[in-house]
């Protein structure tokens, strides 16, 4: 009897979740968004949840319910692999520039309809609108690679000209400090190779890009060899794992995207940021719609919503999102918005004054910063419901953000042709396959096999010996 009661209970326990799940079977249109991890403000409670805002806005505007299904990837290559295996349930993706090029070349993206994405023309910076990829993608963020390091290294990392070098990732520290085991680098081929290539390009003395987008195998081999030398002093190859390691102080130096530095520094205030002298990578991540998407119209409405150019309400969302992500924004309406700039440079709420020089290193910061500070002072005096249009001071123009571009060396990754790509991937495979020294393990295995053999031999001998007697 008891057993029966128990089995009944068990059955109920098993079926409970089933019953619960039956509740929502109403057909709601689903929009599948596939983005980088930590790349959109999706906070609960009072904070901005972009997708919930979109769902509410969409229902209000089009009288139809839609649900955003959001999932994340951690590298372009991972995203590409997912797209390749035939999963067409993706409506919006946000790959980086070289991956956009590749997807265009492989005819996987639709040409965007700028009647739907009406905000595009007035919001996206002109230099992005002029790019070859422009008809297929809408830039979401952009940025540069830089060095993130622990403040204790403030005096060690810089040479006599107080410049940093990517070489510190090879444990070549100007004052001879030993950092082996404290260094991280990228766990994706393009960025990992990129850093070696910036060094090689700089050291070759060439002004133009000889290495980063080279089709010459010998040049890739050079970079491969350089990366091979790095392996012994590395703690790990990381992508998103970097947050944990840098925030907790488990590693001291790492290269990463400028915008993510702010996330890390908000947890661990002992972190610092620097752009190395060899130059760095200029990248942008852009929203695209795959050809396989079943909801192309809705996807483009989503993109338009994120640009926030249509109504006042939606611009706030674009600004809030840009502030949350902390990357450089290609959206003119956002970057020239004084509230955005004042929020970003705020010591308490934002990322401090360094935010501007890190996010917009090509800009004329000396002119920009006083403008922003003046506005911040003005804002501090206003009540809660101030109106930004009442401000009478100077308002920055977009030119200020690209004024000093010549002083700053940048490289853009281009899509490599198939043959080079295959070669580069092969080199990356080889790099990953080679292991850190594990001689102890091999020796132990040898000993174990030896002991086993000895036992076997002894066993056989003993048996022979015994057989003589029986």
């Amino acid at each position: 009897m008891k057993k029966r009661v128990f089995s009944l209970l068990l059955l109920c326990f098993l079926l409970l979740p089933l019953l619960c799940s039956c509740a929502d079977f109403s057909p709601v249109k689903k929009l599948y968004v596939y983005n980088w991890g930590e790349y959109m403000s999706l906070e609960g409670g009072d904070d901005l949840h972009v997708n919930h805002e979109f769902e509410a806005w969409y229902e209000e505007t089009y009288g139809e319910r839609i649900e955003v299904v959001y999932s994340v990837f951690s590298s372009n290559e991972e995203m590409y692999a997912k797209m390749q295996n035939g999963s067409s349930k993706i409506d919006v993706i946000v790959p980086s520039e070289y991956m956009v090029e590749r997807l265009i070349k492989e005819d996987m993206l639709i040409k965007l309809d700028f009647d739907i994405i009406a905000a595009y023309e007035n919001t996206i910076e002109e230099r992005f609108q002029e790019m070859a990829t422009a008809p297929y993608c809408v830039p979401y963020t952009y940025g540069y690679l830089g060095l993130i390091y622990d403040a204790s290294l403030d005096n060690s990392l810089f040479d006599e000209n107080s410049e940093a070098s990517w070489r510190v990732l090879w444990n070549e520290i100007p004052d001879g400090t030993d950092l082996s085991g404290q260094i991280l680098t990228f766990n994706n081929s393009r960025d990992a190779f990129g850093i070696a290539q910036f060094i090689l390009n700089h050291e070759s003395g060439a002004k133009e890009d000889l290495y980063v987008n080279s089709t010459d195998h010998a040049r890739w081999d050079e970079a491969y060899e350089l990366l091979g030398q790095q392996k012994d002093c590395l703690q790990a190859y990381v992508m998103d794992e970097i947050y944990n390691k840098m925030e907790g102080g488990a590693a001291l130096v790492a290269p990463y995207y400028a915008g993510d530095y702010f996330t890390m520094v908000s947890v661990n205030e002992n972190l610092r940021f620097a752009y190395p002298k060899e130059g760095t990578n200029f990248f942008y991540d852009a929203m695209c719609v795959p050809k396989t998407s079943k909801n192309q119209i809705e996807a483009q409405r989503y993109i338009n919503f994120l640009l926030g150019g249509t109504e006042g309400e939606s611009l706030d969302i674009a600004i809030g999102n840009a502030e949350w992500i902390g990357y450089s924004s290609p959206n003119v309406k956002v970057t020239t918005n004084l509230d955005y700039l004042a929020d970003m440079t705020d010591d308490e709420e934002g990322y401090g004054e360094e935010a501007l020089s890190i996010l917009y290193p090509e800009g004329d910061i000396d002119t920009l910063l006083p403008m922003v500070n003046a506005y911040a002072d003005w804002r501090a005096e206003q009540d809660e419901d101030y109106d930004i249009s009442d401000y009478e001071g100077e308002i920055p123009t977009i030119d200020l953000f690209t004024a000093d571009a010549d002083d700053f060396t940048t490289y853009i990754y281009q899509n490599l042709d198939n043959e080079t790509l295959e070669y580069a991937n092969g080199r990356w495979e080889a790099l990953k396959l080679s292991s850190a020294p594990a001689g102890g393990i091999y020796a132990l295995t040898g000993v174990i096999v030896g002991v086993l053999l000895l036992i076997l031999v002894a066993y056989i001998l003993v048996r022979r010996y015994r057989q003589k007697f029986y």
Binding site: L14, L18, M239, Y243
Partner: protein, 282 residues
Amino acid sequence: MKAVSRIYMVLIFIFLYAPLLTMVLFSFNEANSLSVFTGFSLQWYRDLFQNEEVLEVLSNTLILAALSSVIATVIGTAAAVGIEKMRSRWLKSAVTTISNMPMMNPDIVTGISMALLFVFAMKLFGMDSIFGFPTVLIAHVTFNLPYVILSVTPKIRQMDRYLPEAALDLGCTPLQSFFKVELPAIMPGVLSGLLMAFTLSLDDFVISYFTTEGDFQTLPIYIFGMTKRTVTPDIYSLSTLLFVAVLLLLILSNVMQGHAERKEQRKIAAQAGARRKKKGVR
């Protein structure tokens, strides 16, 4: 000698429980840190029940585990009955070998072999992505099956062979004889198979990892995504809760088993006593 073995056991148990204890400890941490304990607080438990994403993932996992274990138990029990009755020895061993394969093969091989099948099926029929709930369900049923069969078969062998025949002779249809006579006899095996399948499916990471996609996440996959970045203490508190639930379930089943065994022993003792008495009378 005894002291040495005691100390050794204690050491091993410390080794086995060190990570679990850290997990439990830091789930009560005040700060958002998994290495510095600043003070006792229940805030991560509170956070857990407000985190919609985690709750959805948890319900996904439970639904999947429940469905896959029930399906596997039904198919597996039927299969165990059928396999026992097979005449051809060759067929019998072929079927068992094949169904044991997911148990022998490394998980990663099972996972990718199924992924390849689904990818191919999608290409063949020109379907949209089918990766998600259906594929994970199929995968879970597949790796649960051998465990169910393995736990039911011994009970079938233990069962009195003449029991179903007697039932048939007394006028039961084969189906009736199965449900009224055989099934109750093998029930303990079926239940333990079900429970085994349920927990295996709850715990599986590798196979689900290769057979699902962003849209449908199970708890282990969600945790995997988190360990790529930063694990927040609310996952520790969830794990602690799950652990306590499993612990309770195990204790319960153990107590019940112990109870049943004692009852059985008493019954045997009583029978033996009765027999002795009879002899005495004679």
